[in-house]
Amino acid sequence: MPDTEKEKLKEQTKGEMDVSPLSLHNIYKNIHISVRTLDFIIVGLIAALFVVLLIGFNNRGFVIEFDSQGGTPIPSQKLMYGDLIEIEEPSREGYHFDGLSRHASCEDRFDMQTPIDGSMKLYACWIVE
């Protein structure tokens, strides 16, 4: 291959935009759409994003669900970012309430002083009296 062609190829491999249709699996190569149409699509998508964000901003709050694992039911709560969970202690005959856990197996306990940063499900843990 002549040196000039090699130089050209080297230039192509510098990581700059290459529009060759010979790219391995160029997903855009068969797309026939005008830039103007695409502009409308982009604007439409941005509008859709703003609508979704608006819905999100108007329905704020993280849902905290509880599984009392045989105890009296604990109602779910809707809390904001940074809030702390406060619950009325559930009861279960023959058992003593031993806090909440993120896992049904209760291998670790959820620290009630942890600020909330997302929706979650918590499980009640019990010790046999």
Binding site: L9, N26, I27, L38, R60
Partner: protein
């Protein structure tokens, strides 16, 4: 002249629409929740960025090849589960274990596992000229099956794995340094190291140059003497290893691992890459772009989280972001063509 100016402004606005949306969001969140710009929040965003960076750096290589890798999240999950089962004090997967394995051994195991899955992806893409989407969709399902089977081993019965050793937790999430009262975790340093390594690989090695050559123009690369098949396999293998490292970090960061660890991570990584200018056209992308993409995406998620936006809506936002980023990428391609 006026028309030309208007076109220029429109081009500028649309090509940078993603950055403008993010800037607007940051301004809105900062007004509503001033703590968003606080030190703790910024360190949190940087830490989250660092935890997702190795994976994005891996997937970016596949996108540079004009491909993608949707098995990434599952490879992260598998490595996290293997790590959590071997660096634990509760031997549920392997009840006959009496002590956790040394950390370097576990790291080597997961690098081999991640690398092997990546190699299989690369082999199928290179050898059979299949679209990476199809190949990685298959491996994603296979790996998910493997995770579920692995989690059923021993006495675990599919439960989440926790109780990791202190030395492992300290190695990953220990304090690198403190800014005031806010601690910066160790994995930020590791992410920086991976950025440097990947920058050298992409920009200063023959392999890196070959990767861009194959992504830009496969035929031209082949003609100029590049071993295309070997390059594709190496890119996917390297990506697999990067996902494994992400899993290793994630198990300690989250404190547990289960079958859903790594779920949808690939969509975050792919959108971060596209936002950062790694084009689906192939042969285009910069390490700095990947970093910016991951950072901006984490800013969006952290901002929405600060506003207590429902997690279900965040999925829709993620999907729209990917669509917008791809549409902008396509626009840049069409205007250049």
């Amino acid at each position: 002249m006026k028309k030309f100016d208007r076109k220029k402004i429109l081009d500028l606005l649309l090509n940078n629409a993603m950055y403008i949306i993010i800037a607007l969001l940051v301004i809105y969140v900062s007004i509503k929740r001033p703590k968003f710009l606080g030190l703790a929040s910024i360190v949190n965003i940087v830490s989250l960025t660092a935890s997702k960076l190795p994976m994005a750096l891996g997937i970016a290589g596949c996108i540079v090849l004009a491909g993608t890798d949707i098995s990434a999240g599952k490879i992260v999950g598998l490595s996290a589960c293997i790590t959590a089962s071997l660096l634990t004090t509760v031997y549920k997967i392997f009840p006959s274990m009496t002590a956790p394995l040394p950390i370097p051994v576990v790291l080597l195991i997961i690098l081999c596992v991640g690398g092997l899955i990546g190699l299989i992806n690369g082999f199928c893409v290179a050898q059979f000229d299949l679209h990476p989407y199809i190949v990685t969709l298959s491996t994603q399902l296979i790996v998910y099956g493997l995770i579920l089977m692995y989690m059923m081993l021993g006495t675990n019965n599919g439960m989440a794995l926790s109780g990791m050793t202190d030395s492992y937790k300290k190695l990953v999430t220990g304090s690198l340094f403190k800014i005031g009262t806010v601690s910066v975790p160790m994995y930020v340093l590791y992410a920086l190291c991976f950025v440097v390594i990947m920058w050298v690989v992409w920009n200063k090695t023959t392999f890196g140059k070959n990767m861009f050559a194959v992504g830009s123009n496969k035929v031209a690369a082949e003609v100029s003497g590049v071993n295309v098949k070997k390059t594709i396999m190496m890119v996917f293998t390297l990506a697999g290893m990067m996902y494994a490292i992400t899993g290793f970090i994630d198990a300690a960061r989250v404190g547990s691992a289960n079958a859903t660890t790594g779920l949808n991570y690939e969509s975050d990584a792919i959108s971060a890459c596209v936002i950062g200018g790694v084009s689906f056209v192939g042969g285009t992308g910069k390490i700095s772009g990947v970093i910016i993409g991951v950072l901006l995406l984490q800013v969006i998620f952290a901002g929405l989280n600060f506003l207590s936006v429902n997690a279900n809506l965040i999925y829709i936002v993620k999907g729209l972001i990917i669509l917008i980023a791809c549409a902008i990428d396509m626009r840049k391609y069409l205007t250049k063509k």
